[in-house]
Subunit: 202 residues, 2 copies
DNA sequence: GTAGTGTTGTACTGGGCGGTACATTGCGGC
DNA sequence: GCCGCAATGTACCGCCCAGTACAACACTAC
């Protein structure tokens, strides 16, 4: 029981369950979503869930991965190692937050709740954020290599502060149900990155 | 039923319940904390809870207020309208996050979960954040009035971006179980504020 | 078709949880 | 000392929910 699907059909059912879980957990929170809600939404039965997952925690872990994949997938549509690409990405994040009714970051909101649930989930959350951070770091490193940002800048540090600005923006925007904090936070993050550009040699 | 306490003793019991609830909800999340857990911790009975609160949601709302009060209380120990006071406050936030085992912001983590629970709680969360933001705004306005920061700076905007940096730092630090993101995020926020100081006239 | 493995339907259970009912006790005012 | 209200103890209820048991079905290979 609760093993990886071995047929295409099984794979599709598993994905449908994760997708439905991701949607509901995003909207109502992890603990606010019962497995039966998920199964109803995915039009699946209980035996299917426990065929592929060992527990709700296990499903939740899959949901983090799924949401991270979604976020990184959208992120890949932008050339983050260019100024215009970065700006477009920020704009897209803001648009997304608006269109999803100020519900916050699909990864970040899960992260807060799951970090307090179990050691295992906490570890998965950490992994997810480090991965996300890493994709940003690569973009900044590329910019540095191409001379777009100063050679002394630390891509890892920039990735961390940028992600913090994104999450801080999301959180305030969700808490206050207002787009403005997110707009301002990202604007500031962008300006900071921009300030590291084209340093007049050393 | 569920009305304000009318005696000193009642007041104390009510406070004890809220305090215990705040502690547990912070550690385990709101939905991860049962009212019975709270009552055990507060050494109280169920009739006491429902004497002062109409529901768990009602108690949760009181917990937001309590946590905000705690945070603002600690914040009041610093002169936020001075550079050294600001820096000390940031340092204290970092120390707090460390000493509380990377569990995140006592207000922010509640906010994420509660925003998705009900309209009423969402409204209370918004109120809390706006209040917090306001205290920062007052500090920045005082600085501006005293010429510590540029006359063109907008205190409201600074308050929002500063709070976003705080929350973003908390979130990443909690997700990654590492102090560094918070340290860097606050360092950056401080540098940004600092950059608005002593503009060479217009 | 038949065997074997992957998949799915259904019915059930045991525990936990929010909330209620109601009786009882503590306490201040007169 | 007794009345009245605030405060508290206790037992209980109904519901929901994660997880299980087990039987039935689907597909592939031969």
């Amino acid at each position: 029981m609760h093993q990886a699907p071995k047929t295409r059909r099984g794979q599709e059912r598993r994905n449908a369950i994760v997708k439905a879980a991701a949607k509901l957990m995003y909207e109502r929170g992890v603990r606010g979503t019962s497995v039966e809600d998920v199964l109803d939404a995915a039009d699946a039965g209980k035996s299917q869930l426990y065929h592929y997952f060992s527990s709700k925690d296990d499903l939740s872990a899959a949901v983090i991965d799924y949401q991270l994949t979604q976020v990184l997938g959208q992120q890949d549509q932008f050339r983050l190692d260019t100024w215009s690409g970065l700006r477009s990405w920020f704009d897209a994040l803001i648009k997304g937050q608006e269109s999803r009714a100020f519900r916050g970051c699909p990864v970040g909101s899960l992260a807060v709740e799951m970090s307090a649930m179990s050691e295992k989930l906490q570890a998965r959350v950490a992994e997810a954020f480090l991965h996300w951070q890493d994709t940003l770091e690569q973009a900044f490193e590329a910019m540095r290599n191409r001379g777009l940002i100063d050679a002394d800048a630390l891509p890892a540090e920039l990735a961390q502060t940028t992600l913090a600005a994104v999450q801080g923006g999301y959180l305030l925007s969700t808490a206050e149900q207002d787009l403005q904090p997110m707009v301002r936070s990202l604007k500031l993050a962008f300006a900071h990155l921009r300030s590291l550009a084209a340093k007049p040699s050393r």
